[in-house]
C-alpha cells in the first residue's frame, strides 16, 4: 500500500477504531474483525495499521488499555473508550459526515 493512501486513511481509521469500541471494551483482534466485517472487507487495510491507531489513541487518552482474559481464556489486551474518546468520536463523526456531504455535492454537480 502506498504511503499517501495510509496517511489519507489515518484519520478515518481512528474514527472507525473509536466506533468499534462504542459497544464496550474489545481487544485488538476483535476491533480488527469488527472493522473488516462492518466494511464488508472493502477497506484494504493491514491489521498493523489498526494497532498503530489503537496505541496512538491510547497515547492521546481517548482509549485506555488493560490486560484481561479473552473468550477462550487467553491473556489479551483490552481497549476501552474514555469519556474524552467518546467526545472525540462524536465530533469526528459529525465532521466526516459534513465532509462526505460536501464532496458528494461537488461530485453530483459534474
Amino acid at each position: 500500500m502506498a504511503k499517501d493512501e495510509l496517511q489519507l486513511l489515518q484519520g478515518t481509521l481512528d474514527v472507525l477504531v473509536l466506533k468499534a469500541l462504542t459497544s464496550g471494551p474489545r481487544h485488538g483482534y476483535a476491533v480488527a474483525r469488527w472493522i473488516h466485517e462492518a466494511t464488508d472487507e472493502e477497506l484494504a487495510v493491514e491489521d498493523r495499521a489498526l494497532y498503530v491507531s489503537l496505541h496512538r489513541l491510547e497515547q492521546r487518552g481517548w482509549v485506555t488499555a488493560d490486560w484481561g482474559v479473552s473468550e477462550n481464556n487467553r491473556r489479551a489486551k483490552y481497549y476501552a473508550l474514555t469519556p474524552a474518546g467518546r467526545k472525540q468520536l462524536r465530533s469526528q463523526t459529525e465532521r466526516w459526515q459534513r465532509y462526505a456531504v460536501a464532496v458528494s455535492k461537488v461530485l453530483q454537480r459534474a
Binding site: H27, Y29, E46, D47, R56, S70, R74, A76, K77
Partner: protein, 907 residues
C-alpha cells in the same frame, strides 16, 4: 484520610523497554493466534491459515518498532503527569495540614522566617558592599582601578598604593592604548557650601572630566563637566551636585542648572546632577564633584599638574574593547615604570596593579582599608554567623516536624499498608517542609526589608543608601536558602519516615510508649551548641566594647566640643586668625553654658603634630617605638577643659607668654622615656621648633593621652604654651560644657556670630564623635552578636520546651504508674529536668569545645579580651543553664501533677 489518585496506575504502567516490548509481542501474538484459529475453524489448512494471517497483519517487525516507539512516548508522558499530580497532591495535603493546625504552622513559619530573614538582610548588605559593582557603573567588568605596588619604606615588604600625582594620570591617559579611557579623582574634601550661618558642610570630590564617561554614569540632570572645563593649569569653576544634595538643599528643582553656588568661598556654576545613589565607587559620602584642575590650581597654581610629589588622586580606567586585564596591566606597568624610573630605581616590587571596582575584589591599598571594606568584612562575618541562626531555626523546625510525625504515625502506617512507597512518603514530608519554608521565606523577606534598613545604618551610617534592601539577588538568595532550610529541616523527619515499618506502627496505634528518636535529642543538643557559640561571640564582643570604652584616654570627651572656622579659600592672614580665636575664647569663656574653654591646635583621634627633641649633652634620645613624640601647643586651661589629670608639677597659666621662660608639660610616658626613674619636673630639653640653644623646662607631668588610636600604646607627647609658638597659625577652640552639648553649641555659635557677623562657617564637632569610630567595630559586633545570640537562645528555649513537653505527654501512663506506686512528684520533676538538662549539657560541652577551636580566628577582632575569657564562658554556660531549666520546668511541673487515676483510665 485522602485517597491517593490512581494508585493502581502505578502497577499497570509498563516500567521499561523490555516490558513494553514483551507486551507488544503478547498483543501481536494473541492477534495472530486468534486469526489462525478462526481461519482453521473455517476450513483453511493450518499452513495456509498462518500465511494468510501474517499477510493480513502486515510487516510484524515494523509494527513492533512502530508500536514500541509510540508506547515509550506514552509512558514518558504519563509518568510526567503522574509526578505532577502527586506533587500537587502532596502540596494540597501540606496546605490542608497547615490549616488543621495553624498554630503549629505559625511557629514553624515564624521560626524559619527569622532564620531566613536575618540571612537575607545580611546577604543584601554584603552583596551591595562587596559583590555588586557600585550603582550606575555600566559594564563594570571592563572598569578597573589602577594602583601601584612599591616597597614600603624601611622594610622589604611590598605595599599597594592608590594615590598618584596628576602627572601619572596624564601619562596613562595618553600613553596606554589598552585603556579606552582613564579618569582620576581625589578623596572627598571637607568643604562648606554657602557662607556664615546658612553654610552647610560638604564632601567634594575633585575629578577629571573623564570620570563619568569612564564609569559610564549618566547624569540625572544637565551634564558632567567636559574636557575644556578641566584643562591644566586652570579649569573652570563648574560643579555637579549629588542627587541627595540636589534634593535636600535645592528641593529637587530642575532650574538649578545654570545657577551659581558658593563652595569654600568661591563661586561655581551648577552644570549637572548625578543619578540617584551615585557616590563614586568607594562607598564614601560625596555631595559634589568639581574639576580637578580647579582644586589643583588652588594648591599650587603653576606646577600642580607637573608635580611628582602631590600624591592625591585615585585612578580608574576602562579597558579598550577586546583587551584583557593582564595585557592592559603589562602595558600600563611598562609605561608607568619607564616614566618613574628614578623613583623606583632598583625596587623589585615596583609594579602596576589593576583592581576590580567591586569592593570585595579590590586590593587593599595602604594600611587603612576603606570604611566599606572594613564594614564589608564585618558584614561577611555576620553573614556567616547568621547562617548559624538559620541552622538553629532548622533544627527547631525539624524537631517540631518529628514530634508531629510521631503523632501521625498511625496515618503513616495506614498509607504504608496501602502500598505507598517510602520514597513517596519522604517526598510528601519534603514537600510539606518546602511549602512551610517558602512561607517562612516570605516572612523572612518582610523581616529583611525592615532589618536591612537598620543594618545598613548600623554598618555604614554615612553612606547614602538607595533602593530597597530587597532586590532580585536577595530574592534569589532567600529562595535558595528557603529550599536549603526545607531540606535541612525535612531530612530528619524524612529519615524517620524511612525507618518505620507499617506493621509496627499499626500495632502501636495512637498511644504506645514510643520515645522520640535519638535524632530529636541530637537536634536540641545542636541548638544548644550553636547558641553557645553565638552567645560566646556576643559575650566576647560585649567585653571588648566594655574594655574599649573604658580605656583611659587621658581626657574626658563626654562634654567637650571642638570649634573651627572654615577658612578654606579665604585670604586670612595668620594674625587675623589668631586674633579671632583669641577674641572667641574670651567671649565663650564668659558664657554660662561653658564650664571651661581653651585654645589648642591638633585634635585627639583626628590630627597630630610631630616634633623632634634632644636632651642637653646628648646627641640623640631613645626614639619611641611607635613614632613620635607628638607635641601640641595649647593655651592655659587646656588640661582642665579636656579633663586631663595632672600627675606632677603645674600646667600652663596665663603667665606663660611669649617673653617668659620657655616651659613644657610632658606626658608620663615621655617623662619615663627621657628621664627613666627620675623626676622630670625641673629638667629641660631642646624642642626642634625652638630657636637654637633654648632649653625648655618641664613644669609638669600629665597622664598619657591616647592620641591616635585606642589599640596602640599611648604615644609619648609634650605640650608647650600656645603663646610661645608664634609661628603656629592653626587653631582649634576646645569647650567643655556644663550641661547639654546641643544647647551649648547653639550658645557658642550665637556668641561667635556677634564677634564679626558674616564670618565663615563654624564647624562644631563633639569630641565624642572623634572617639566613637574607634569603638564602632566592637559596638557593632556586640549589638549584632547579642541580637543573634538572643535569637539562638530563644530558639533553644522553644526547642527544649517542645521536646520535653512532648516527652512528658507521651509518658503520661508511665509517669502515672510511677506516681501510683508511690513515686514522689518532686522525684519526677527531678527526673524530667535531669533528662532535659543532659541534652543542654551535651550541647554546652560541644559548644565550648567549638568556641575554643574558633578562638584563634576571632582573636584579631577582639579588644584586649582573650577569646577564652573565663568570665564570658562561665556566663554563657550559666545563661544557657538557666534558660534550659526554665524551658524544661513547665513540662516537668506538669509531669508531677499527673493524676494516676486519669492516665490509667484513658486509652
Amino acid at each position: 484520610m485522602e485517597r491517593i489518585p490512581r494508585v493502581r496506575r502505578w502497577f499497570r504502567l509498563p516500567k521499561d523497554e523490555t516490558t513494553i516490548g514483551r507486551e507488544i509481542d503478547d498483543e501481536i501474538g494473541f492477534h495472530l493466534r486468534a486469526r489462525i484459529a478462526a481461519l482453521e475453524a473455517a476450513g483453511v489448512a493450518p499452513e495456509a491459515a498462518r500465511r494468510a494471517a501474517e499477510r493480513e497483519f502486515g510487516d510484524v517487525m515494523a509494527a513492533r518498532a512502530e508500536l514500541s516507539a509510540i508506547d515509550r512516548v506514552t509512558v514518558r508522558r504519563r509518568r510526567r503527569t503522574q509526578r505532577w499530580r502527586s506533587a500537587l497532591w502532596d502540596a494540597r495535603q501540606a496546605v490542608r495540614g497547615m490549616r488543621r493546625s495553624p498554630s503549629f504552622a505559625a511557629v514553624v513559619v515564624l521560626t524559619l522566617g527569622l532564620g531566613i530573614g536575618v540571612n537575607a538582610a545580611m546577604f543584601g548588605i554584603t552583596d551591595r558592599l562587596l559583590l555588586s559593582p557600585p550603582a550606575h557603573v555600566t559594564a563594570a567588568a571592563e572598569v578597573v582601578r589602577v594602583l601601584y605596588r612599591s616597597t614600603s619604606s624601611g622594610t622589604s615588604e611590598p605595599r599597594t598604593n592608590a594615590m598618584l600625582p596628576y602627572l601619572d594620570y596624564a601619562l596613562m591617559r595618553d600613553g596606554v592604548g589598552s585603556f579606552a579611557s582613564v579618569a582620576a579623582y581625589s578623596s572627598p574634601s571637607y568643604s562648606v557650601l554657602g557662607r556664615g550661618r546658612e553654610a552647610t558642610e560638604l564632601r567634594v570630590v575633585s575629578a577629571t572630566a573623564s570620570l563619568f564617561p569612564t564609569l559610564g554614569v549618566r547624569p540625572a540632570l544637565g551634564r558632567f563637566f567636559v574636557a575644556s572645563e578641566d584643562t591644566p593649569p586652570q579649569g573652570v569653576r563648574v560643579v555637579v551636585l549629588s542627587h541627595g544634595l540636589w534634593r535636600g538643599r535645592f528641593g529637587g528643582d530642575p532650574g538649578v542648572i545654570g545657577r551659581t553656588v558658593e563652595i569654600d568661598h568661591a563661586t561655581y556654576e551648577v552644570v549637572g546632577v548625578a543619578p540617584r545613589g551615585f557616590a563614586g565607587i568607594d562607598f564614601e559620602p560625596v555631595h559634589a564633584w568639581v574639576p580637578v584642575s580647579i582644586t589643583g590650581a588652588a594648591y599650587d597654581s603653576a606646577s600642580w599638574h607637573t608635580s611628582r610629589s602631590m600624591h592625591w588622586l585615585r585612578m580608574v580606567a576602562r579597558l579598550a574593547p577586546g583587551i584583557g586585564a593582564e595585557v592592559a596591566r603589562q602595558e600600563a606597568a611598562a609605561t608607568f615604570l619607564a616614566a618613574n624610573e628614578r623613583r623606583f630605581d632598583g625596587d623589585p616590587n615596583a609594579d602596576v596593579v589593576l583592581g576590580s571596582v567591586r569592593a570585595a575584589l579590590a586590593p587593599e591599598a595602604g594600611t587603612r582599608a576603606g570604611a566599606a571594606q572594613k564594614s564589608g568584612r564585618i558584614a561577611l562575618w555576620l553573614l556567616a554567623v547568621s547562617l548559624l541562626v538559620l541552622v538553629s531555626a532548622c533544627a527547631n523546625v525539624a524537631n517540631l516536624l518529628l514530634a508531629r510525625g510521631m503523632r501521625r504515625r498511625r496515618d503513616i502506617g495506614v498509607l504504608m499498608a496501602l502500598g505507598i512507597g517510602r520514597a513517596r512518603l519522604v517526598r510528601q514530608v519534603l514537600t510539606e517542609t518546602l511549602i512551610l519554608a517558602l512561607c517562612g521565606g516570605v516572612v523572612g523577606l518582610l523581616l529583611a526589608h525592615w532589618g536591612g534598613h537598620v543594618a545598613r545604618v548600623l554598618l555604614l551610617p554615612d553612606v547614602e543608601w538607595t533602593g530597597s534592601p530587597i532586590d532580585g539577588r536577595v530574592l534569589a538568595f532567600a529562595a535558595s536558602i528557603a529550599c536549603i532550610a526545607a531540606l535541612l529541616a525535612g531530612v530528619a523527619p524524612a529519615l524517620h519516615a524511612l525507618g518505620v515499618d507499617a506493621a509496627t506502627l499499626l500495632r502501636m496505634g495512637g498511644r504506645g510508649t514510643a520515645r522520640r528518636s535519638a535524632a530529636s535529642t541530637a537536634l536540641v543538643a545542636l541548638q544548644a551548641t550553636l547558641s553557645v557559640v553565638l552567645l560566646a561571640g556576643a559575650g566576647l564582643f560585649v567585653r571588648s566594647l566594655q574594655r574599649a570604652a573604658s580605656v583611659p584616654l587621658g581626657f574626658e570627651p563626654e562634654r567637650v566640643t571642638t570649634f573651627q572656622w572654615h577658612t578654606a579659600g579665604l585670604d586670612w592672614g595668620r594674625s587675623r586668625t589668631q586674633g579671632l580665636y583669641a577674641a572667641a575664647l574670651e567671649r565663650v569663656r564668659a558664657l554660662p553654658e561653658v564650664e571651661a574653654a581653651a585654645l589648642g591646635t591638633s585634635v585627639p583621634m583626628w590630627s597630630a603634630l610631630y616634633a623632634s627633641i634632644r636632651l642637653p649633652g646628648q646627641d640623640s634620645v631613645a626614639e619611641p617605638t611607635d613614632g613620635g613624640p607628638y607635641y601640641s601647643p595649647v593655651s592655659a586651661d587646656y588640661f582642665r577643659t579636656m579633663g586631663a589629670r595632672v600627675l606632677r608639677g603645674r600646667v600652663f597659666t596665663d603667665g606663660d607668654v611669649a617673653g617668659s621662660a620657655p616651659v613644657a608639660v610632658v606626658t608620663a610616658s615621655l617623662a619615663r622615656l627621657l628621664w627613666p626613674g627620675e623626676d622630670a619636673v625641673g629638667r629641660c630639653f631642646f624642642h626642634g621648633r625652638d630657636a637654637d640653644g633654648v632649653c625648655r623646662t618641664v613644669v609638669g607631668v600629665v597622664e598619657d593621652t591616647r592620641y591616635s588610636s585606642l589599640e596602640a600604646e599611648p604615644t609619648p607627647m609634650f605640650f608647650v604654651p600656645l603663646a610661645q609658638e608664634p609661628t603656629m597659625g592653626w587653631r582649634t577652640l576646645f569647650v567643655r560644657f556644663a550641661g547639654d552639648t546641643g544647647e551649648g553649641i547653639a550658645a557658642v555659635r550665637r556668641a561667635l556670630d556677634r564677634i564679626e557677623p558674616g564670618l565663615p562657617h563654624v564647624q562644631a564637632t563633639p569630641l565624642q564623635t572623634r572617639v566613637d569610630p574607634q569603638i564602632q567595630p566592637w559596638r557593632l559586633g556586640a549589638s549584632l552578636f547579642s541580637a543573634f545570640g538572643a535569637l539562638a537562645l530563644l530558639l533553644v528555649g522553644i526547642g527544649l520546651y517542645g521536646v520535653v513537653a512532648y516527652d512528658v505527654s507521651q509518658r503520661r501512663r508511665e509517669l502515672g504508674i510511677r506516681l501510683a506506686i508511690g513515686a514522689r512528684g518532686r522525684a519526677l520533676v527531678r527526673m524530667v529536668l535531669g533528662q532535659a538538662m543532659s541534652m543542654v549539657v551535651l550541647g554546652l560541652v560541644v559548644g565550648l569545645a567549638l568556641t575554643g577551636w574558633a578562638a584563634g580566628y576571632v582573636e584579631p577582632l577582639l579588644f584586649q579580651v582573650s577569646p577564652r575569657d573565663p568570665a564570658v564562658l562561665v556566663g554563657v554556660a550559666a545563661l544557657l543553664f538557666v534558660i534550659g531549666v526554665g524551658a524544661a520546668s513547665v513540662p516537668a511541673w506538669r509531669a508531677a501533677r499527673i493524676r494516676p487515676t486519669e492516665t490509667l483510665r484513658e486509652d
